[in-house]
């Protein structure tokens, strides 16, 4: 990945390459030293050999972080993160990390590929320093102590070093570039997530985002309910009360005026009834307070046909799941009322393990088809939004059974 500022200048690139090589030598050199330490302890003091191993395993995560920084800063390569291990405390996080394939890939990069890469980087670095040093030898040889000045003007080896340096130097940027590229490829492969991990992470991201969207929609419904409750509903109630009061106290009015008041009173109450229905359909607050069991009797009681209700939910499900279950019953009963010509219906809600099963049975004429009406399609969508399933058994002539199964918990966020 290239940075957005465009290609860095030549000198900046060379500086970055040099920094990349030196930091590489340092980091990989540390791993190499661990190996040396390990080999020595194995031979001379096997009991202590645990120490370098512990260093290597414990340090892997921090070194991975350092390497990621190094590649991002000097090689313009972003190594994607591997999914973090989630655990409540540091100890369990560390233990969980040891069980991931990613961790062992990281360790392999640091401890196996590392020393080799470090050696190659060291050679490249030596070539850089050596050739530049060779070319400029006559500019600084006088600073060396006499006995270190092994190359003399007189025998011409200083010239030869300069020539070798001049020949080698032009190839070095490209060589370093290739090395950098190769290292980036290896690092991405070993330090970045594998395809499966990337997909798993993507799925997790999507699930989280969906949960957030659901929660937002839920919150919006609640907000609207609250606004209506605190605003329009209270005003309407108060209007109806005042009209009722007028009706009860103003007994000496002409009959026409009384009729008008009566009519207004009746209409205010009807409007209130309608508004109540609407608001309840959005999100009844008793659902938050007391859960599904308490909330469902309201819909069942208001259905125009006798509804039998049995709810057995000992443990509450996630709020969004409860909202969907409530919507399912509400919508299903509305459908029964509108289309089924049923004389009675039965609603059962039960929790089995982590599944919430909602069943709505009616004794109507059947023939319900999810591809036909918008009601059932909406229901299917709403159920699918929380990973639920919906099954309809509705032979012509009836009866119709709608079974909805919802997972009680949602992945994260809710």
């Amino acid at each position: 990945m290239t940075r957005s500022e465009g290609r860095p200048g030549r000198r900046a690139r060379l500086t970055a390459q040099a920094a990349f090589l030196s930091t590489g030598v340092l980091l990989h050199g540390a791993a190499f030293l661990l190996w040396v330490w390990f080999s020595l302890t194995v031979v001379y003091a096997p009991g202590v050999a645990v120490a370098p191993l512990l260093f290597a395993t414990a340090g892997a995560t921090s070194v991975t972080w350092l390497q990621r920084r190094r590649f991002a800063t000097y090689a313009d390569t972003d190594i994607p993160h591997t999914p973090p291990v989630k655990a409540p405390d540091a100890f369990r996080r560390a233990r969980g990390r040891l069980r991931t394939a990613a961790y062992w890939r990281h360790l392999g990069y640091h401890q196996l590929a590392g020393p080799v890469l470090g050696a190659v980087e060291a050679v490249a670095l030596v070539l850089w320093v050596g050739s530049i040093g060779g070319i400029t030898y006559y500019a600084w040889y006088w600073m060396l102590p006499r006995r270190w000045a092994f190359v003399q003007w007189s025998d011409g080896s200083g010239w030869k070093m300069g020539v070798v340096g001049l020949v080698v130097l032009p190839f070095l940027p490209r060589l370093t570039g290739a090395l950098l590229h190769l290292e980036s490829v290896i690092a991405r492969r070993l330090l970045g997530p594998s395809r499966a991990e990337e997909l798993a992470r993507r799925v997790e991201d999507l699930a989280e985002r969906r949960a957030e969207t659901l929660a937002a929609a839920d919150a919006e419904r609640r907000r609207i309910e609250r606004d209506l409750h605190d605003g329009a509903q209270q005003r309407l109630v108060s209007l109806a009360v005042n009209l009722g009061l007028a009706r009860a106290t103003l007994t000496d009015l002409p009959p026409e005026a009384r009729a008008v008041i009566d009519e207004a009173h009746r209409e205010a109450k009807e409007a209130l009834e309608e508004l109540n229905h609407l608001v309840r359909g959005l999100h009844p607050h008793v659902l938050d307070d007391r859960g599904l069991d308490a909330a469902l009797s309201g819909i069942a009681a208001r259905a125009p046909l006798p509804v039998q209700l049995a709810v057995d939910v000992p443990e509450r499900a996630a709020p969004a799941v409860e909202a969907v279950a409530y919507f399912v019953v509400s919508e299903a009963l509305a459908n029964v009322t509108k289309h089924a010509r049923a004389s009675r219906a039965e609603v059962t809600v039960a929790r089995a393990g982590d599944t919430l099963r909602v069943r709505v049975v009616d004794d109507g004429r059947g023939g319900a088809d999810p591809s036909g009406g918008t009601g059932l399609t909406g229901l299917t969508h709403r159920v699918a939004s929380v990973d639920g399933t919906l099954a309809i058994d509705s032979p012509r002539g009836g009866p119709t059974t709608i079974t909805v199964e919802l997972p009680c918990t949602l992945p994260s966020a809710l």
Binding site: Q234, H285, G298, Q308
Partner: protein, 212 residues
């Protein structure tokens, strides 16, 4: 005594109460204020909204439970935008006398509301028809299913807390017809015979699975 956070509605209810000859000794707009006022004034009846600040959930119900426990002489009439039988059940589970639970819009039917208020203040019960409907939904169908349509209507009115006379007026039949229906219901549902309005309600509610 009235606790209601919507000012408009509070004014309306106060007007209705005063028209009916009640004296309003205090007004409150949250549950804490309500409890303080009840402690101070010991009113005959407190009219309480279910949903009040700060949580806007069921503060009223919880406050009502406290009132019924600490000051049993104060009757409580709950008003709610939506009646939920669960809230009613919580109230009735401890004591069915001096308890009422009505939809706010019932206040608009002034005479009926005042009648319910008097009943509750006198130690009776007033349940919103919607609460009763919600209670009926929950019962295993068999025993209730044995009732005739008319008997179900009478049962619902009984559960609301009405007297025989009240039921007779509502259904436009004679009181003796109501008494006959009630005898049939009590027999069919194996309810204990009881005297007085609220004990009858208690029997019905026990049958409906709310209390006892």
């Amino acid at each position: 005594m009235i606790a209601e956070d919507s000012v408009l509605l509070r004014i309306g209810v106060v007007k209705v109460l005063e028209t009916a000859g009640f004296e309003v000794v205090a007004e409150a707009d949250d549950a804490e204020g309500l409890l303080r006022a009840v402690e101070e004034h010991r009113p005959d009846i407190a009219v309480v909204d279910v949903r009040m600040p700060p949580g806007f959930t069921d503060e009223g119900v919880r406050a009502a439970l406290v009132i019924r426990k600490q000051w049993p002489d104060t009757a409580v009439l709950m008003l709610s935008q939506y009646v939920e039988e669960r809230y009613a059940a919580e109230l009735l589970a401890t004591n069915t006398s001096g308890v009422g639970y009505l939809l706010k819009q019932r206040v608009a039917d002034v005479e009926e509301f005042i009648e319910a208020l008097r009943r509750v203040a006198a130690g009776g019960t007033a349940l919103d028809p919607q609460v009763v409907a919600q209670l009926l939904v929950r019962r295993p169908s068999d025993p209730v299913g044995r009732l005739t349509e008319r008997e179900r209507e009478v049962l619902a009115l009984m559960a609301e807390g009405r007297s025989n006379a009240g039921i007779a007026v509502q259904l436009v039949v004679s009181e003796s017809a109501v008494a006959k229906h009630i005898n049939n219901i009590l027999a069919k549902l194996d309810l204990p015979r009881a005297e007085g309005d609220h004990r009858r309600v208690l029997a019905v509610l026990r049958f409906l699975g709310v209390s006892g």
